[in-house]
Symmetry: none
Subunit: 251 residues, 2 copies
C-alpha cells in the first residue's frame, strides 16, 4: 500500500494524545513520556501546567522529543476540543458515570479508525479527575487491580493503557484495514450538542432544581457513549426539537 | 472451594518473588513494590543492596508492607537458591541465551503449578543483568516495545510483567468481582423500549408519514448503539415522557 507510516509504529500512534490533568510530579510527566515512547505514541498534552520542571527531563530517558513536543492547555475543555473521542481513566467507579474495564476500553478505542483523533485523559495523582473533568469524556475506564489500595501510580496507568493498545495493535498489524466508522464530532461540538439537548430538557421540565445535577450527569453519560457524529447530531436535535410543543410558541 | 486465600489475590501471589539485582534508584524499588501490591504480589528480594533509602518509602504508596517484608541477599545466586523456576527479564536479546516474548514467558510461568516457587529477576537500570547473572535463570524474556530506545524503566518492566500475569490469572475472577457492569437488557426489552420511544416521537409528530421509515431506522441505530441497560431505559423513558405535554391530557 501507499501508507507512508513506519510499520513498527502503531497505526494509532499519530492519532492518539495522552492528556495529563494537573499532574503534580514532574517525574511522572517524564515517566509517562518514556512509556509513550516505549509503546509508539508521541502526542502529549498537559493541562493546568505551563512548563516542564527539570525532574521531568531526568525521567524521560530517550523520550526528550515527546516532552519537547508537548502542548500546554489551561483547561481540559480546551485540551480535548479538537479530539473526536475521549477516554478518561479513573481509579474507581464514579456515580452517574458508566465505566469500562481496560480491555473493553481498548476494544472500543480501536474501533474508532482514521481519521478519528483520540484522547486518553489521566487525572492528578492524589485527587484524580473531578466530576466536571470526567464529564468531558465519552468513556470512562478503570485498570483492574488486586486490591482497592493503592491505585496505580499515574505513569503506571499511562503505561498499562498504552501497552494494552500497543500489544493488541501489534497482534492485529497483519489485518491492516481498520473498520471505517463515521468519525465522531470534535469534542467541543459534542459538548455544544449536549448543551442544546439539556436546554430542551430543561424547557420540558425534565430537568429541574432538585434533580439537575444528577440527571444532567446521567444524560451526559448516555449521550457521551454515543460518540455522536454529524448525522447523530442532526437526528438528536430534530428528535428533541419535535418532542413536544414548540417552546417559541409556548412562551 | 476450600481455597482459603482471598479471592482477589492472584493464585501465584504466594509463590512468586520479584528479585531486583543491584537497583540504583530507591524510587524504583518503591515503585516496584507499589506495582506488586497493585497486582497482588508480596514477596520482594533485593540483591546487592543492604538497606532501603527514604525515597523508596516515598514512592511505595500504600505498599509499605511489601518493603517491610523484603529480603536482602548479597548475590543473585543466594537470592534464587530456594526457588524452583527462574525467569530473567532482558531489554534485548542476548547472545547464547534463548529468549521468550513476555506473553510466552507468562504462559510458561503459569504452567508451573504449586508448590513450585517462581522468581522474576530484573537487572540494574543502566547495565541490566550480567551474563553470569542471566545464567542463573531457566528462561529469559523481553517485553515488546515500539522502538529500540528507550528500554522500559525498571519499575515499568516489573509492572508490565506482573500485570500480564495478573490479567491472565484473574481474567475470570476480575469479571465478576472488580467491577459490577450493568448488563444490557435482553434484546426483546431493548426492542420494547425502542418501540415506546418511537411511539412518543410519533405522538410529537417527529415521525410522520413521509419520513417514518427513514427516521425510524435512524432512531433505532442511535438507541441500538447504546446497548441500553435497565438504568438507561428508566432515563430514556423519563426523558421522552417529560419531553412535552402529557399526551393523555392532550387527547
Amino acid at each position: 500500500m501507499t501508507n507512508p507510516s513506519p510499520k513498527n509504529q502503531s497505526a494509532l500512534g499519530a492519532r492518539l494524545s495522552v492528556i495529563l490533568v494537573r499532574p503534580e510530579s514532574p517525574e511522572n510527566i517524564g515517566l509517562a513520556a518514556r512509556a509513550m515512547k516505549n509503546t509508539g505514541f508521541g502526542s502529549l498534552r498537559l493541562v493546568g501546567v505551563d512548563r516542564l520542571e527539570p525532574p521531568a527531563w531526568r525521567t524521560a530517558v530517550h523520550a526528550e522529543d515527546v516532552l519537547s513536543g508537548c502542548a500546554f492547555f489551561p483547561t481540559l475543555s480546551a485540551g480535548v476540543a479538537d479530539l473526536n473521542v475521549v477516554f478518561a481513566s479513573t481509579a474507581r467507579r464514579r456515580q452517574n458515570f458508566s465505566s469500562l474495564r481496560l480491555e473493553e476500553a481498548v476494544s472500543r478505542l480501536r474501533a474508532f479508525g482514521p481519521p478519528s483523533r483520540i484522547g486518553l485523559v489521566f487525572g492528578n495523582e492524589r485527587t484524580g479527575l473531578t466530576s466536571a473533568e470526567l464529564a468531558l469524556s465519552n468513556f470512562r475506564y478503570s485498570i483492574p487491580q488486586a486490591a482497592r489500595q493503592p491505585s496505580y501510580n499515574l505513569a503506571s496507568a499511562v503505561l498499562l493503557t498504552l501497552f494494552e493498545i500497543f500489544r493488541r495493535e501489534g497482534a492485529a498489524a497483519a489485518e491492516t484495514e481498520l473498520r471505517q466508522v463515521d468519525v465522531p464530532l470534535p469534542f467541543s461540538e459534542q459538548e455544544a450538542c449536549l448543551r442544546l439537548i439539556l436546554r430542551k430538557l430543561e424547557e420540558r421540565r425534565f430537568l429541574h432544581a432538585t434533580n439537575a445535577r444528577h440527571a444532567t450527569e446521567m444524560v451526559r453519560d448516555l449521550v457521551g457513549r454515543l460518540s455522536i457524529t454529524a448525522g447523530d447530531r442532526r437526528l438528536l436535535l430534530a428528535m428533541f426539537s419535535h418532542a413536544g410543543d414548540d417552546p417559541e410558541r409556548r412562551g
